[in-house]
Every structure is written in C-alpha cells, then in structure tokens.
Amino acid sequence: MYWRYLTRAARRCSVHTTSSRTVGWWDHVAPAAKDPINGVTEAFLADPSPYKINLGVGAYRDDKGRPVVLQCVREAEAKIAGSEFLESISASVSTKMVEESVKLVYGKDSDVVKEGRSAGVQALSGTGACRLFAEFQRRFHPESHIYFPDPTWSNHHNIWRDAQIPERTYHYYDPDSKSLDFAALMDDIKNAPDSSFFLLHPSAHNPTGVDPTEEQWREISYQFKVKGHFPFFDMAYQGFASGDLDKDAQAIRIFLEDEHLIGCAQSYAKSMGLYGHRVGCLSILCVDSKQAAAIRSQIQQIARAMYGSPPVHGILLVATILSDPNLKSLWIDEVKIMADRIQRKRTTLRQNLEKLGSSLNWEHITNQLGMFCFSGLTPYQVDRLAKEFHIYMTQDGRISMAGVTTGNVNYLANAIHEVTRSEQETAKILCSISV
C-alpha cells in the first residue's frame, strides 16, 4: 500500500516541476455516502414547500413543530450562569454527573450503586458512550464480535466497524406482524457461541419501537446467564417509552436481579433535550470497586486519545438538574409530558388512517413505543411521500413521531393512505379470495 503512494508521489514530482500541479493529495478520496438519518434532514431543509414535514431525526418537537428547551434546563442554565469552569470544578462535576447517571439507570438503592461497583465515565452522548465501549471491547477482547438486533440504529454499524469489531445480527423484528420475533430471537441467543457480546435496546427500540415484554426480558436474561453472554444496553430513550424513568429501565433491573455484569450507554440528548451538548455516560458493572477503578482508568485513557476531556457545559447542566430535588422533579414531569404527547399522536394517526377507510392493519402504530414508529412503508412509498407530499423519513419507513403535530397529522394520514392505495387493493383482493 505504502509503495503505491510513493510511486504516485514520484509521478507527481516528475510531471509537475515547472507548472503548478494538477493532481492533489486528496484526489483519491471519494465522496462518502450520505448518512441515512442526517441526509433526510438535509433534504427536508432544502425543500421550499410550506407543507413539508420532517419525520427523520429523532429530536423532540412540541405540538407546533418547534424544538423545545426544557424548563428544568432553562432553570439550570440560570443557576450555573455565575459559575466558573475551572479544571478542578469540571472534575468534580463530572464525577457528580456520573454518580447521578448510574443511579438513574440502575436504581439509587441498587447494590451496584451502594457498593461502588460501576465503572462510570462521562461520554459524548450515546454515540460516544457506544464508541468508548466498542474500543474497550476491542482492547480486551480483540477476537470478539458484536451481535446487533435486526434492525438497529444505523450508526451502531458504523461505530463497531470503526472500532474494528465485526458484527453479526440476531432476529428481532418480524415485518409481517410488525412486532417482536421472540422465538427466533431466543434461538439466536442460544445458537450464538458462548460468551458473545450482545447489544440490546432496553426500551423504545430504535428504529422499530418494538420492545419485549417483562416476561420476555426475564427469559432473555435467563438464557444470557446460561450462555454467559455479555449484555450491552444502549439506553437512549429512558422515559420516552412509558413516560416513567424506572419503568423504562426495567429490562436492566431484571438483568441486575439475575446478577449480570452489564455495560450501559446512556444519553441525555432526548430525555433532557440536550442534543447539541453531547452528554452521556458509559458504565460497566464490576465484581468490586477495585475492578471498577481499573476499568474506569482504561476507558478514560481511550477517551483521552479521542478528544482529551469532554465538553463541560452539558455535564454541568445534567449534574445540576439531577442533584437538585426540585429541578429533578420538574424534569421527570417534563419527560412524561413529552412521552404523553407522542402517545397521543400515535393514537390520532392510527385513528385517522382507520377513519380514512384504510384496509391495512395500523395497530402497530399504537403498539410500538417511544419516539419511533416502524411504519412498514416500502422505500418506494417513502420516496413518493417525499417527492409528492414533502414528507421526509428514513428509507426503512421509520417515522419519528416527535415530528407529528395536531397541525400536520391529518395531512400525514392522507398522504400515507394515498401511497398505500395499491397495497390496500391487494389486501382487499386477498381478503375477498379467502372468504
């Protein structure tokens, strides 16, 4: 590889002695494919239509389609406005943020918290937490793979690939029933080699919105114990599935009851609306506090080589909110408000489609949880929605319900009804045949 570049360099030297060179160092760099999620937002922004709707990226919107800064965040901003960001302060603030974060996900009364058995490190939101873990996994288990649910968030593939960990998938979503393919999922867990690394979405699965039941989680946890698998949870939507922070952490609490030593990525992007501040946490549970210190030191070293130290403003906001009982209580209420609004829009969208007389089954809109709905729309239908109706979503048919409002839900329902007409015709024909 190196010699190819040397030869190319030599060629450049010999051709371009007197005139300015016409070939540059970067000519062999091809344009990267657009990110499937950000690409949707770019297309939306470029569209001049007044009816356009962005159902692409998972960022919460109010009922007028506006981005929201939570009241608890505004109050925290006011509270910290006078403080200084000295190195010494940023270290203690980080520690505070991590302490509160692990309480949030594992429960403040859990043994792991009381015994100091979590190696917790602040991270650059969920992406950063996942990437730190992937790099850590590579460092200490270089031969391992990662098992992703099929489908999963598109960036998971990029993260583990760039950390040079090959991926495998396990069955998750059943496109026919638009729900969990539990039997196939359990088979895959059993058939995977012992001690494999699995990525799990503890609630509000992205992109499908399909979550296992409590019962199913217990069976998964049991089977993980039998096989000695490592469970890594990506918790990006705590609070958005049910509106209740503890309920949304139930899967993790079940694994804790079964004494798994899990890893967990947390993000405050959605639940606190701190998208642009890049605040999150990576924690790994350990046998004792000594191991936790060792693991923490290794992860910090990985982080240092990537970005030095994390941006402090967001960390300060989270630490302030979670350690002030009034602000924390306000935050909990606001999370519920956001989750409830999404739930209501799910109901309205489904009702509208049914009122329009759609012959397709739209139950999954209200069965699925969290910010996203896996609509079942095909890429062709998604394209039609963009081109004819100026409605933007990812190619896999994932709708960010946060982008649905009272003002646009009728338009959306009509558009979906329109682009699914031929599918409805087919369904009607099949129905009439089977009768």
Binding site: R21, G24, V29, D35, N38, F182, G276, Q291, E363
Partner: protein
Amino acid sequence: MHEKLKGKVKLGSTTNSTAGFIKTKSFGRVSMVAAVNVSRFEGVTMAPPDPILGVSEAFKADTDEKKLNLGVGAYEPKSYSLMCLMLLRRLAENLMLERGENKEYLPIEGLAAFNKVTAELLFGADNSVLKEQRVATVQGLSGTGSLRLAAALIERYFPGAKVLISSPTWEFPWSEYRYYDPKTVGLDFEGMIADIKAPGGSFILLHGCAHNPTGIDPTPEQWEKIADVIQEKNHIPFFDVAYQGFASGSLDNDASSVRLFATRGMELLVAQIGAMNVVCSSSDLAARCCEVAVIQVKSQLKRLARPMYSNPPVHGARIVANVVGNPALFDEWKAEMEMMAGRIKNVRQKLFDSLSAKDKSGKDWSFILRQIGMFSFTGLNKAQSDNMTNKWHVYMTKDGRISLAGLSLAKCEYLADAIIDSYHNVS
C-alpha cells in the same frame, strides 16, 4: 415453527421452542450453570496514570501551602487573565440567551458560523485559499479531537504512510525527527532538516507556534527552509495550532508559519483548537476540481466523526462564533490575548532575573527568554524534576516542562530556588 398473527404477537412461554419454562421471577438464582459474578473483564489492570493529568491529581493531594502546579497548560485559578476570559465568555453567553438559541444537534461538520470564523482566524480572511474555497473545515472536539480526526483520515486514505513528529512532542508515539537540543536548550535545526529529508511522501507534524512541550519555535527564515524541504520531498505538512494568539500576543503573527505554507500553494492539514482544516491544492484546471476535492474530503471527515460522537458540541462553538463575530467582543479578546502573552513574557523575565541573580555558577539561563508560549523546557531531567516535586512541592511533567501560565510573579523567586537546587544538587 413460528406462529405469525396479525396484530400483537404474544410469543411468550406458550410458543417458546424450549419446553418447560417456569414463570418465576429470578431464573438466575435457580440456575447452577454459570459461575456467579464472573466478569468478562476480569483481567483488566489499572491504566498507567496520564503523565500530564496525573500531575494535577498529585498536586491536589499535596497539602503543603507552598505547592505550585506547573503541570497542565491551564491558567492559574483566580488569575486576572482567567477572570477576563470568563467575563468575555459570559458576555457571549448572554448574547446567546437573548437570542433564545435552542439545543438542537449541530450538523456533523459543526456550526457553520464557527467553521467560517475559525478558518478566517487561521488563514486570514483575505487569504486566497479561502477565497478560492480550497479549505475543508470541520468542527472538532478541541485540539485532541481535531488531531484524532486527522489521524483517522490519514490511516484510512494513506495506510502505511509515515507520520513524523518532533522529538519530543505531545504524547503520540510515531516516528520522530530531531527537534530539541538539550545542549543549547534550543532547536536542533540541522538535525530536524536532516530527519525530515527522508523518506518522501510522509506527513510531517509541525507545531504552528509555541511548541509544546519545549516552547522553542523555528525563526521565520528557518520556517522557509523547512517549507523548502517539505516541498522538495513532497511531504504533506500537518500543523497542530493550539496556541494562536498566546505565543506572541498577535493572532496574525502566530499564524504566520501556516500562512507561509498556504501561500506557497502547498496542501496542508491543520488541526486547530476546535477545528480540522484540510487545504487542497490549486489546479490548472477549473476551480471545480478543488471544490470537488474539498467536498469529498469534508464528507470523509464527517464519516469518521459520525461513529465517534455523531456531531460536535454546540456551546463552545457558539461562544467562539459570537466573540469573533462581534467586533466589540473580538477587539476585547484580542486585547486580552496580548495582555496574557505579555504577562507570560514578564514572568519569563522575572524567572530569568531571579535565576541569574541567585545562581552563582554562571550558567546561562537566557533560553527561558528565547522560548515562547505557555511552556518552558527547563532542561531538568527526570530525577531533577522529581526533586522539584518531592522537596519543593513544584508539580511539573517529568520531561522538565513547566507551564508558565500557572506561575505568578510572586512565586518566581521560590521557583528559581527550586530549579537551582535541583539542577546543581541532583543528578
């Protein structure tokens, strides 16, 4: 055999392929299959303490009132300079609050206003590289993050290419070129030139100004010679610009090395605090070609950033954009930097004066005055640096580097005593 039903499928214990699932709460405690609480990461040992951050931790633990932290490159708490910078930041933040800006994700490449001002600061707003749109700029996570993006870009598009860094430099273990001459406590220019002459087609990491850790910068004439060699060998220069404005007090002067290379039409990588810049070559063909190269390189930088952190943090970028974009705040910031650089020069002078007065051996301490920026390489070795800490409670890195930002004029005499003792009485 899966049962597929329309509507919600409840595939619980009734259809599970493994017979006899018991519906009790904790299966784990029933099972005797796996050993309890065996961690997959059992063998993980403590990472060695970070040589720079570790110094601050040791300093914090020290209870002696004479202690001095000259480790990390950050300003002394409660210093006037730091307070002025805080005030500036608060003014910028107030602007942001007034505008009611939200906290949405930035695009992967960062805040456009920030990228614009940061490239202008570096190259100068009238520079042809900017006018001809030959620069791909992506917001990064401070200096480290920008360097990491560059390293990832080099690894992906130039696998096997060599990267040469100065010896010493800021912690990355790649191939080295000679730089610091311990005999003169200055630049080993001949050694540097000899080393960067081989092999061709490599990346040469250069510090734009205020070299870290030595504080020793090439002169303008020496920069010209370095540029000659790099062009001749068809290397690509890779600048790390962490201290623009802090070295001489002038943003433009401190960017002169980068601008020299850009003016020669050379392709560059430049990591700034907060941004990664790639300058593509000019072309005989239409300007379209380099626009395309810029777009392509930018898209690849984004592709590297997405699986690291998705998009960069918004707060700092807005502060910078607001400060630089507001003439009154920008002027204030420039005045502030001039004052900070001036203060460091005063500290250097005081330290030099103290050393010359107290040290009767006749040793020449004037290198302290010739060095530039936040750091000074004292010439102390590891044992001597340890003595500084153990006996005098002066915290510094083991390579003999001290950070002058953490030193007040009042402490210069104490520091001089410590240095003289360590240099002469410890080997």
